[in-house]
């Protein structure tokens, strides 16, 4: 069953078209990987899915993104409420300069959770992000005192705290060491039971290790989108084959 469907999505920066007519179904409770050389539009496409491109001036988007039976680009829709359901984790860990506890509690508090519920939300989110055991004794310490890998898991926990349906990850492990990366990959396999995960990665091994489906982007086009095993072992398209075999990129 698909949770997000895009139809004829185009994106322009001024006159330049960065995303060309993309139709794609993202399956529920799966990990979908977006791969491609840098500048191919994979991150831009990811940011289309929760309207993060809205903050960029001079950026025009046409087409539809259907989520929860609505078009999230409908003029009546509040992107803020879409982002509550479709969360995002960034390349560089960006915890707020607050305590660990306040980082997690920040968005639930804003979205109207009562004080009494917050303790539980913080604990559950940190558990879900496999960070609880490491930080449970120092929840009031600054989040900036954590290591890079811990900070990134904190950001995942912060997203989980809103109980979203989809988690978008924009090269979320590229700034981390291999052990932290492995921990997060492990975590994603766990998370997909509850959430749908879409990752952008330049690391093809990572895509082949954890993704159920993989989409290959080139120059703003979606070249091929299939089961990960097909993309890596039996691609239909020559460009895909060249890319996954390390021919360019």
């Amino acid at each position: 069953m698909s949770i997000i469907t895009t139809t004829n999505i185009n994106l322009y920066y001024g006159d330049k078209q960065a995303i060309k007519d993309i139709n794609m179904d993202i399956e529920k409770n799966e990990i979908t990987a977006l791969i491609g050389p840098s500048g191919c539009g994979k991150s831009t496409f990811l940011r289309i899915l929760n309207r993060m491109n809205d903050t960029i001036t001079n950026c025009k988007i046409t087409g539809e993104v259907i989520f929860d039976n609505i078009n999230i680009y409908d003029s009546k829709i509040d992107p803020m409420l879409i982002r509550k359901k479709i969360g995002m984790v960034f390349q560089k860990p960006n915890p707020f300069p607050l305590s660990i506890y306040d980082n997690i509690a920040y968005a639930p508090k804003y979205h109207g959770k009562k004080k009494g519920e917050l303790d539980e939300i913080v604990e559950n989110s940190l558990m879900a992000a496999a960070l609880w055991d490491e930080v449970k004794d120092r929840l009031n310490k600054s989040a900036l005192s954590l290591s890079g890998g811990q900070q990134q898991r904190l950001c995942i926990a912060r997203t989980i705290a809103l109980n979203p349906e989809v988690i978008l990850m924009d090269e979320a492990t590229s700034a981390l060491d291999p052990i932290s990366t492995y921990k997060i990959e492990d975590l994603l396999n766990e998370l997909k039971k509850t959430y749908t995960v879409v990752i952008v990665t330049h690391n093809m091994q990572q895509a082949s290790r954890i993704a159920d489906k993989t989409a290959f982007f080139l120059y703003g086009d979606l070249i091929e989108y299939d089961l990960t095993s097909n993309i890596f072992t039996n691609p239909k398209n020559k460009e895909t084959a060249d890319y996954v075999s390390g021919y360019f990129g």
């Binding site: 609505i70 009546k76 829709i77 409420l81």
Partner: protein, 294 residues
């Protein structure tokens, strides 16, 4: 599913925050515009050649600001003559010669503290030292005593901005010249100073703005006379009011018709705007040059 749960709703808290931010901003901007427009509108009609070129006369009850303009120019000019060599020299020493250490960092901190000292304290010092102790010029203040006092006021800022301008010069130029066997002084003269010149010029123009605006420090060091000077050289030792000081006297003593302080305020304001505009233009030209280079 229900479409309404995603519909745009802006909470009262956010609306209140926006209302507060924009109303406060509007009030502040309106205030600035009102102050400026009001002053210029009330003062501008009275500004004419006679007002600019004559001295005030109690007898004829005519008003003119020529002596004050001359006094202000004297003070600006003498202050710059004193402070530019001292300021650039000190900045050069700090940027190029001084070895980092405790004494230098104390010296830098003192400059920072001196920059924050109210000008009235400098005025008091100038009165006690330049006027009463050294007896420079007239006992009620003189152009030279006022200028020395102003030099003390502008020096800390001038040193700091000049040093910054020197430090911004690409260090590879310096190293390249050194590797060619050029002497330190030669490098300073041919490379450092020319490269830092726009920054230094901006610092100087801002100092001019500061001197033109100064009043508290000049009241008792430069004096309050408004007679047209007769001897250009002797005037250095004579006392005289700057535009700001005379504006203060007219505004508080009520010894003039209402329009006089307005006209003076308008002139002063236009003058200061022009000075700052010049500094901004030079700074932005310089910035463009730098960004074009890199």
């Amino acid at each position: 599913m229900d479409k309404n749960i995603y519909e745009r709703k802006i909470r009262p808290g956010i609306i209140a925050a926006r209302a507060l931010i924009y109303s406060v901003t509007t009030i502040v901007i309106a205030l600035v515009v009102i102050i400026i427009v009001y002053l210029i509108k009330k003062g501008l009609p009275y500004i004419n050649w006679e007002f600019l070129s004559k001295a005030p006369s109690r007898l004829n009850e005519t008003y003119g600001i020529a002596p004050m303009i001359i006094n202000t120019l004297y003070i600006v000019f003498i202050t710059l003559i004193i402070s530019i060599p001292l300021g650039i020299g000190t900045a050069l020493y700090l940027a190029e010669y001084a070895r980092p250490g405790k004494i230098i960092s104390i010296f830098r901190y003192s400059i920072e503290i001196l920059a924050g000292i109210p000008s009235i304290v400098y005025g008091l010092f100038g009165l006690a030292f330049f006027v009463n102790t050294l007896k420079l010029g007239s006992s009620s203040g003189s152009m030279i005593a006022g200028s020395l006092t102003c030099a003390l006021i502008v020096l800390p800022t001038m040193i700091r901005t000049t040093e910054e301008a020197l430090l911004q010069v690409d260090s590879t130029y310096r190293e390249a010249a050194f590797s060619l066997g050029a002497s330190k002084f030669y490098i300073i003269r041919t490379i450092l100073l020319p490269c830092a010149l726009p920054g230094i010029v901006v610092a100087m123009i801002l100092s001019i703005g500061r001197i033109v605006s100064e009043s508290a420090a000049l009241l008792y060091t430069a004096g309050v006379d408004y007679i047209m000077p007769t001897n250009a050289v002797k005037h250095v030792t004579e006392s005289g009011a700057s535009l700001t000081v005379q504006l203060y006297l007219y505004a508080t003593e009520g010894s003039s018709p209402d329009w006089v302080p307005y006209a003076m305020a308008a002139i002063l304001m236009i003058l200061v705007f022009l000075i700052n505009l010049t500094a901004n233009i030079i700074a932005s030209i310089f910035q463009k040059k730098v960004s074009a280079k890199s």
